[in-house]
């Protein structure tokens, strides 16, 4: 395998953007490209992730090409997935030897529509979508299954929320942050029992971009390139009645294939939009109490759909670049209740 490193990352996240998608994306892409120190014309491949249904328009991603300056024409691809999978496609492309570097980006505004309702369109269109279950309700079904199977409590969820919000204080891209008391959180009413409103991801509009480079070139460009040491993703059946909701079987496989346990994990950025999902993922990846989880505040602090997964990888890389850890696990998810999961193991030199 070729060694591939993240050399730059940029993001934008706001609760409700007045800019359109191209206007949000353009400065983010420019920042990532500028910080990579790689001339734009030398970037070998470009890959992006987004979803038409966030905008309610077909081909919503096409206009984004204006933001990247695709001229002269570029080698480019797009996945209708979280940007983390765009990074995976770019990593594969570099592995083929066809290119040596790539720009990866994703964008999405969650605020224009009723996102939890729109996500009902992600389900089985014959037997599930006609019942219009909102995404929060489905997550709550998983939360209850998890709590009842494991003996964990709503207090455990509140602790995840309190820690995330506290850690998010240092994150300029967090849309929810601040010191909160677990007792106060528990005094709040249920929104979708056993979940409370604060156990849910905040509606967020955002974009992110990343530049990855293969081999020694990465060391020349970046003081501390962050190497992708393991990369895998797996999907499960969609139906909630077809899975053991208390665990994440696909994360377990992806973690194993990515080699999470081949070394000590200093910290992890887990894409857990709902509080209980962090605990499920933690167990699936075998991350013990000594592993710092979501030092950025995670998806509970900022959650631009289609972007949040790539942000986890970017946050982990940024932290390693800043020498606040040497080896990290980054994770991304999409689909209802952690249906599809991606694990990326990152290391600094």
């Amino acid at each position: 395998m070729r060694d591939v490193a993240i050399v730059s990352f940029a993001q934008s996240a706001k609760a409700r953007e007045i800019r359109n998608e191209i206007e949000i994306l353009m400065p983010v892409v420019q920042e990532a490209v500028r910080n990579s120190k790689l001339p734009r014309q030398e970037i070998g491949f470009t890959c992006s992730g987004s979803s038409d249904y966030l905008q309610g328009q077909s081909f919503a991603f096409v206009g984004a090409l204006d933001a990247v300056g695709a001229w002269p024409p570029i080698k480019e691809s797009h996945v209708e997935m979280d940007g983390a999978w765009a990074l995976y496609e770019a990593w594969i492309k570099i592995q083929t030897g066809d290119v040596d570097s790539a720009l990866v980006y994703s964008f999405g505004k969650s605020s224009p529509g009723d996102l939890p309702e729109i996500l009902a369109l992600q389900l089985d269109p014959y037997t599930m979508t006609p019942l219009w279950p909102d995404a929060d309700s489905l997550a709550a079904l998983q939360a209850r299954a998890f709590l009842e199977a494991t003996g964990k409590s709503e207090r455990d969820l509140a602790q995840v929320v309190a820690r995330s919000r506290r850690d998010a204080v240092g994150n300029p891209h967090a849309v929810v942050s601040g010191a909160v008391d677990v007792e106060k959180l528990l005094a709040e009413p249920h929104y979708r029992s056993p979940l409370r409103a604060h156990d849910l991801p905040p509606i967020t509009d955002g974009a992110s971009a990343m530049v990855v480079v293969a081999g020694e070139r990465a060391r020349k460009l970046c003081e501390r390139p962050v190497w992708i040491r393991g990369f895998d993703h797996r999907i499960e059946p969609l139906g909630l009645g077809l899975r053991d909701l208390a665990r994440s079987a696909s994360t377990e496989i992806a973690g194993q294939k990515a080699g999470v346990h081949k070394g000590k994990v200093d910290f992890a950025e887990l894409h857990a939009p709902y509080a209980h999902q962090e605990l499920i993922l933690r167990a699936a990846l075998g991350l013990g109490e000594n592993v710092t989880i979501n030092p950025s505040g995670g998806a509970l602090a900022s959650h631009p759909l289609m972007v949040a997964g790539l942000i986890r990888i970017g946050e982990a890389a940024t932290r390693i670049m800043a020498r606040r850890g040497d080896r990290a696990v980054a994770h991304a998810t999409q689909g209802p209740c952690l249906q599809q999961n991606l694990v990326c193991v990152l290391e600094g030199d």
Partner: protein, 385 residues
């Protein structure tokens, strides 16, 4: 490439206006099971699944691959959903091949589909947004002015498009999977068919189809175990440019020309017309045959129409194009690009039956999308690269 990649299995559904006999998963499985049978494999032998389709609004399911992956034996495996507008079928094949070329996977199943009968393509493509006026009538309305510009620039005879349509519609009669089949089709029938988006006539236009196409890409090691003759991937290329910028040449886009150059360089082809035996090119409106022949370097700029006119692109010509009947005869949008790739591989493998060209060693598959701005192409051959 790090590893060689070969096509070892191909499956197509019957294409039709409305495949109301099957569900969406059933449609994909029809193609996938045929591809597995062709390669003598089961789902358990597949390492990863790639799914491609055009906009989600066609079927009204957001990221439908999430519920479709398990219908393709995808549970517990990596699954990627590709969407690069109309070129997506080609891109889906390229992503699947790259998973093998990367050395990470041995056998990858890709399926591209569209079930357009669940909605209406014209609706999905022209969803009106606030503050705008809807004047561009779907894809035909978008591409007709470009065709007019091509005719003006090249001086091509007005009946070039009719000749392309006649040829493709005749070829379709030999393809058991083709959607539109008009027995005994004639030049006059095409010429006298109604003008839809002047200068595009009804019979010069692609249909809306339901259908799926599946391909299995395999490593050299896995290909050696395959029962059939593999089609070896010699090169793949993808290239994009923005839709709207001042001074953009949409008739012969630079992205198309750069894509071709990249493809031929990788495949070590210096004279495409002489070295490539046949091509499946994405021609949704008949005039795009001469247009893409030029951008793909088979003809000089402004003279692609001569190849059509001289019969070079006919089934018995020196560069047969769209032997299957092409997009003009079957158009499940998301799958249309992958069908081009599959048909090119079928020619190399000698599998094309009634529309097989004799002695094909090397074939080209081509797809484009968006406002003539996304290009995906590949070259397959009967020998290793």
């Amino acid at each position: 490439m790090a590893e060689r990649s070969a096509v070892i299995g191909i499956g197509q559904t019957k294409y039709d206006a409305k495949r109301i006999d099957v569900s969406m998963p059933g449609l994909l499985r029809e193609a996938a099971l045929r591809a597995l049978e062709d390669a003598d494999l089961g789902f358990a032998d597949i390492d990863a699944v790639v799914i491609g389709k055009a906009p989600d609004m066609f079927e009204g399911v957001m990221m439908p691959e999430l519920f479709l992956a398990e219908a393709l034996g995808g549970a517990g495996k990596p699954m990627i959903r590709v969407h690069t507008a109309g070129s997506v079928g080609g891109s889906t094949g390229i992503v699947a091949s790259s998973l093998v070329e990367s050395g990470v996977f041995e056998r990858v199943l890709c399926v591209a589909f569209e079930k357009q009968s669940e909605s209406n393509a014209m609706w999905a493509l022209t969803v009106s947004t606030p503050f705008s006026v809807a004047v561009v009538a779907g894809a035909g309305g978008y591409f007709a002015p470009l065709i007019r510009a091509y005719i003006r620039r090249s001086g091509a005879p007005e009946d070039t498009g009719i000749r392309v349509a006649l040829k493709d519609r005749q070829n379709a009669l030999k393809n058991p999977y083709a959607h539109v089949k008009i027995p005994d089709i004639t030049f006059d029938q095409v010429m006298n068919s109604p003008m839809l988006w002047d200068p595009i006539r009804y019979l010069e236009t692609c249909p809306s189809s339901d259908g799926a196409c599946a391909m299995i890409f395999a490593s050299e090691r896995a290909a050696a175990k395959a029962p059939g003759k593999p089609a070896w991937v010699h090169a793949t290329a993808m290239r994009s440019e923005p839709t709207m910028f001042a001074g953009r040449d949409q008739v012969n886009p630079l992205a198309a020309r750069m894509n071709a150059k990249d493809l031929y360089a990788k495949a070590r082809i210096t004279n495409p017309r002489a070295e490539i035996d046949c091509a499946e090119i994405y021609v949704p409106f008949s005039w795009f045959e001469p247009m893409w022949l030029e951008s793909m370097g088979f003809a000089e700029e402004g003279s692609g129409w001569k190849m059509t006119y001289e019969g070079a692109t006919a089934l018995d010509g020196d560069l047969p194009v769209n032997m299957s009947g092409g997009v003009l005869s079957s158009n499940p949008i998301g799958a249309s690009g992958l069908i081009r790739f599959a048909e090119a591989a079928m020619q190399v493998r000698g599998q094309a039956g009634g529309h097989q060209v004799d002695g094909v060693h090397k074939a080209l598959g081509h797809a484009y999308g968006g406002g003539s701005q996304y290009f995906s192409t590949y070259i397959v051959a009967d020998h290793k690269p």
